[in-house]
């Protein structure tokens, strides 16, 4: 039995190492050099802060995906909800000028509401009309991309547009930089607070318990008298709200306006983060940092080894498959998703 587990684990890890290496080799590079480049970059003068900068939105989105997945809901709309968050927060940002710290909080809350609104709507469609939340969230991703493309060229355009982007947010809504000379901003604190909050919600509150029961056995949840419809809408709303918050944090911390294709692919990466962390809130920041290395280091790989950025997605997919196969390798552990 032990031997079977060891062999299976070996197969899973072998697969995880082999697939990205294969593509690196096909591109004429050495996987070892990729690894050393990434590690050197991550612990270099720029890298550590850049990996954290990328880990911030990934943590928030990953938490949202994990929360929904625990309730048996697949939220693949992180990209669209992130965009909704940026649009709503930037739309109201001018009204918060001069509010100080309250303006910053209001700005972030607007992002949360933006993402939550469209995700809760998806939850409603699922409960009321039995429409698959997987397909609807994905369709809304494409809609959101087009809508933001229109907005930053039209109603929300920069008064002096050099390229398509929105007007700038007032200084009150900007998340301050934590470490001078880097891009590491106060979004890190926001993300960590949310992680702690979620660990508590998941373990200590009736809502967290009910959503987990619902995910594990919807029939039992209904039998126990949980308000299943409200639960679905609430869980989807919270999940999307976190992606929307990630959008506001990206605007407030880095761009200070909406820029075309900002945060692209974070939604899908958030799914990978949630799965690696095995849906455990406390583990999510660490999983996010792992992908932060890839996202931040991809630039270095492109510059130094001429490896195209999409390698990150190949790694992401491989990791998803490998983590999903873990419960096959370790049958004693409960399969979480």
């Amino acid at each position: 039995m032990i031997m079977v587990r060891v062999i299976r684990l070996g197969l899973v890890f072998g697969f995880a190492a082999l697939v990205p290496s294969l593509f690196v080799l096909l591109a004429g590079q050495s996987p070892w050099r990729v690894l050393t480049t990434l590690v050197l970059y991550a612990f270099g003068p720029q890298g550590w802060s850049e990996l954290l900068v990328h880990a911030i939105p990934l943590t928030l989105i990953g938490l949202g995906v994990a929360f929904a997945l625990r309730a048996g809901l697949f939220n693949i709309g992180g990209d669209g909800q992130l965009i909704a968050g940026t649009v709503v927060s930037v739309f109201f940002a001018p009204y918060f000028a001069g509010w100080g710290i309250a303006g910053l909080i209001a700005f972030l809350v607007c992002g949360l509401i933006g993402g939550a609104a469209i995700a809760a709507f998806v939850g409603y469609l699922r409960e009321r009309f039995n429409a698959s939340e997987i397909i609807v969230t994905i369709m809304l991703n494409y809609v959101a991309v087009q809508m933001v493309s229109y907005l930053i060229r039209g109603p929300m355009a920069d008064p002096m547009p050099f390229w398509p982007r929105s007007y700038a947010i007032p200084p009150d809504c900007v998340l301050p930089v934590l470490v001078p000379g880097t891009r590491l901003h106060a979004g890190l604190i926001v993300a960590l607070v949310v992680v702690v909050l979620f660990a508590i919600v998941q373990r200590q509150t009736a809502f967290g318990f009910q959503s987990s029961v619902f995910g594990a056995n919807p029939g039992a949840a209904a039998y126990a008298g949980f308000r299943v419809k409200a639960l679905t809408i609430g869980v989807m709303g919270i999940s999307g709200g976190l992606a929307g918050l990630a959008g506001a944090v990206e605007v407030g911390g880095i761009y200070q306006r909406i820029v075309e294709s900002m945060g692209e692919g974070f939604g899908l990466a958030g799914i990978a983060v949630a799965l690696i962390a095995r849906l455990e809130p406390v583990a999510i920041p660490f999983a996010a940092c792992l992908f932060g290395i890839f996202f931040a280091g991809a630039g270095a790989l492109q510059r130094e080894l001429a490896l195209p950025f999409p390698l990150v997605w190949i790694v992401e997919a491989t990791v998803i498959f490998a983590v999903a196969a873990l419960h096959w390798a370790l049958p004693g552990r409960k399969a979480e998703a």
Partner: protein
């Protein structure tokens, strides 16, 4: 409206819906056997690239299409391995496939045929001689690519196989209740594997259609949700291949209409028109999916 305009939109609608339709045929067989493949999008992306690369390399679009079918089969067999052998959640495996497709197609394209669209040897429409010249009906039904007729044949054949043969009955049994099927000594895993592989094959054809027939180039992310639309069509068609195929042509029609509207109303921001097929999918799911068992 101008009849010529309507003829044009209908012909274009069939052309634009075909990539979705091809994928929907296999996906409906797969779902009939009880296994979702939400990763169709990723398979189509990979296939679109491989078909483009194969056509450029060999100079033959047919060889490119053959390569695309092979990659479709390979990726689908991986999905089958994950879901049927390792017991991985089918939606998680599917999402992994989507991300892999994005990564593989863009990574490989940038290293080989270049990220910028280059023209590839495409597949010309079949020449049916005088039939094409029949007004209205001619351009709509007789001016399509050979793959379109193959797709129609596949849709009819798959529908017949699932609904009218003993094998189809076994497949449906697997989808209705795997346990009952097992007690009836139906090889559930073998039937499901076959259906998943068939799904990969048609998704490969769908991806190839996109790059080799429709666009004559590979562009990163060019599938643009058509794989997910195919899954939506299968839900709308309640897993019946022919209905799912026809629903796909409906989305093609929505696409053709929005493209035509862009030229008719240049003042309207084009983004509001581009989203029409996606909104149509949401509306269709809301209206059409009410009494079907939940997909996820």
């Amino acid at each position: 409206m101008d009849p010529l305009l309507i003829t044009g939109i209908l012909a274009a609608g069939i052309r634009l819906g075909m990539a979705i339709g091809l994928s929907a045929i296999g996906e409906s067989a797969s779902e009939r056997s009880g296994i979702f493949n939400i990763g169709i999008e990723g398979i189509m992306l990979s296939a679109a690239f491989v078909a483009a690369w194969g056509s450029v390399r060999t100079g033959s679009p047919w060889l490119g299409i053959a390569f695309a079918m092979v990659i479709g089969l390979m990726l689908a067999s991986f999905h089958a391995l994950m879901v049927l052998v390792l017991g991985v959640n089918q939606f998680i495996s599917g999402i992994g496939m989507v991300i892999f497709g994005f990564g593989f197609s863009s990574f490989a394209a940038r290293l080989t045929i270049g990220a910028r669209p280059i023209s590839i040897p495409g597949l010309p429409p079949v020449d049916l001689g005088p039939l094409t010249n029949i007004p209205v009906v001619g351009p709509i039904f007789f001016g399509q690519s050979p793959l379109a007729y193959i797709a129609l044949g596949l849709a009819l054949a798959t529908g017949w196989l699932i609904n009218r043969t003993a094998l189809g009955l076994e497949i449906r049994a697997c989808g209705e209740s795997a346990e009952v099927a097992r007690t009836l000594a139906i090889p559930v895993r073998a039937r499901r594997t076959a259906c998943i592989l068939f799904g990969g094959l048609t998704a490969g054809l769908g991806g190839a259609y996109l790059s080799v027939v429709q666009v004559h180039a590979f562009v990163e992310g060019m599938v643009a949700g058509r794989g997910f639309l195919a899954v939506a069509c299968v839900m709308l068609g309640r897993r019946r291949p022919l209905i799912a195929f026809l629903a796909s042509l409906g989305f093609g029609l929505a696409e053709a209409t929005q493209i035509r509207l862009q030229t008719l109303y240049p003042g309207l921001p084009y983004q509001f028109l581009v989203i029409l097929p996606y909104l149509a999918a949401i509306v269709a799911l809301v209206i059409g999916h009410r009494n079907v068992e939940r997909a996820a």
